[in-house]
Amino acid sequence: MEELVTRIRTTNATELKSILESDACVQSLANSDRDTLLAAAASLDPGVQSLGCLYLLDAVGRASPDTHRNMDLLAAEVALLENGDASQLQLSMPLVARLARRMKSAALREGAGKSALCTLRKAALRLIPGTKYISPLHADIFQLCILTKNYHAALPFIEHEAYDVDPSKTGSTNLDVLLYCYYGGLVETTRRRYACALWFFECALSVPSGVVSAVTIAAAKKWMLLHVLHKASVGVLPKSAPPILSRTVKSECALYLTAGRHLTAVGPLPDLTSWLETSAPAFIQDGNWGLLQLALQASKARAVRRLTKVYTTIAFEKAAELLSLDVQEVEPLILRMVDSGELTASIDQEHGTVRFGDASPSQVDFLKQLEGVLKRCMAASRRLSAMNQAVQLEQAYMGRTAAGGGAAVGPSAPDQSNQEERAAMDVTAAAAGDEAAST
């Protein structure tokens, strides 16, 4: 162990990585007891010999069952994640992710979730190469935000759209992407940003897999309720979802499909009291009872908005009859909808009527929204062009197109065939020039 510590202090990071990953070193670390490993890690400076600390602490973590972890190990892991040299740690991101996950679990057991959240945020902002990458740290950060109810701590990682999964730079796996999408969806649902939450859950449903996991089913349930809440319709699974999911959803999420049909029915609102009583335990167990209540309120608001398409002015009694409400409940409901901006109406208390107004948004707000959408479309178009170019320059892609005899494969095949035509014309022109010169 002393020899290893000496080599860690004297060898550069790249060589050290290959030494630490050699069979002999791995065997030596596995055979050492945790106290020796912890003492060796404590003798190193996490800010200077970060890679060595990482491998030693990873070995300690693997050797320590969860019940025998102590605060020294937790403190060492926190010091490494917060102060470790980013260039060294980025050489071995899968190990960093594993260590971070163990640290998170240990901190939660000690009731120090907030501290773990601070540590992971610092580590993520330092170690992830760019905001476009999805890393295992994202999922852990989002989970800690949910458990400690510090949702604003997730903002720096949600505001920037992350779309690149590069295991060589971040150590991400399929499961990490799935958890990132699921926990991100939960954070956005709690913050009432339903459009973003729907996007996260749709991405979770699109993660490639050969089997359906519990996380995917949970994401599907939340996605269905959010679809009813935000888009007023029973959602159809995205085309990118694996085929096995569409077969499984019908059996696993039958209750949610029924809820969707009830809450999006056109016409007077049905009386769902008895159905809610029988279904409540299942929704409560899934943790979706609150979301169902929100979807129910949204369906009442939609029923009011449907009235505006038929009536210009309506009496409270008629509105109560159509909305299946008591007469006294109509005015507060409409007032709340006007207050939240969902409805434009004018209440005449003297005559007991409501006059619905034109719900067109102001021109300035509309233009701002349009500009925001255009900017996002342009940014997505630029990313798509960059990805298209990267694919065309890939050896494997060029090999396939060459083997296919220049057949039309991929979106840029017409460009490639045009280039080949031009090249052929150049050769012909050169040959004609040679002939002319010879004659």
């Binding site: 109810k149 207050d339 004018s346 209440i347 003297e350």
Partner: protein
Amino acid sequence: WPHALHMLALMYSNRLEDARFLYKRCPPHVRDSQPQLQAAFRALQFLWQRDYAGLWPLLRSGWDPHQATLVRGIASNLREHVLRLVATAYSTISLQALAGALGATLPEAQQEAAAHGWELTNAPSGGAWVRIPPKEAAGDPVAPDAATLQRLASYVLHLEAA
């Protein structure tokens, strides 16, 4: 940590979501031991449910001196908000309902209505009705300037390049 003061400050800034999460983060022993925190949470519940008539008595109840300033600020913001809401959502409203929504007495509600140019008429059965004239839609000035034209040009170039 002054949890009640923090929550009132978030309510004053109209960050009701953050106030709600703050309450959820508070440990149970803190929630149970601070009556002012409980009072602030009840106020948040009324604000969240937009039950302004129910909120006024709570805002007028006794608060600690260092919280009273924030509570007065919340009350002032609330009064302005309710006046804007009444102007938007009502064509006629009873004077009593207006007083309840503003947390004011009948003479004070009458003064507010007169200050906003709302007509007061007596009802045959007693009481009074406040008539609110419809609001004229303000024209949104969207004057094209150099920055707007620049953005438009970039959109056109992008579409042509694609």
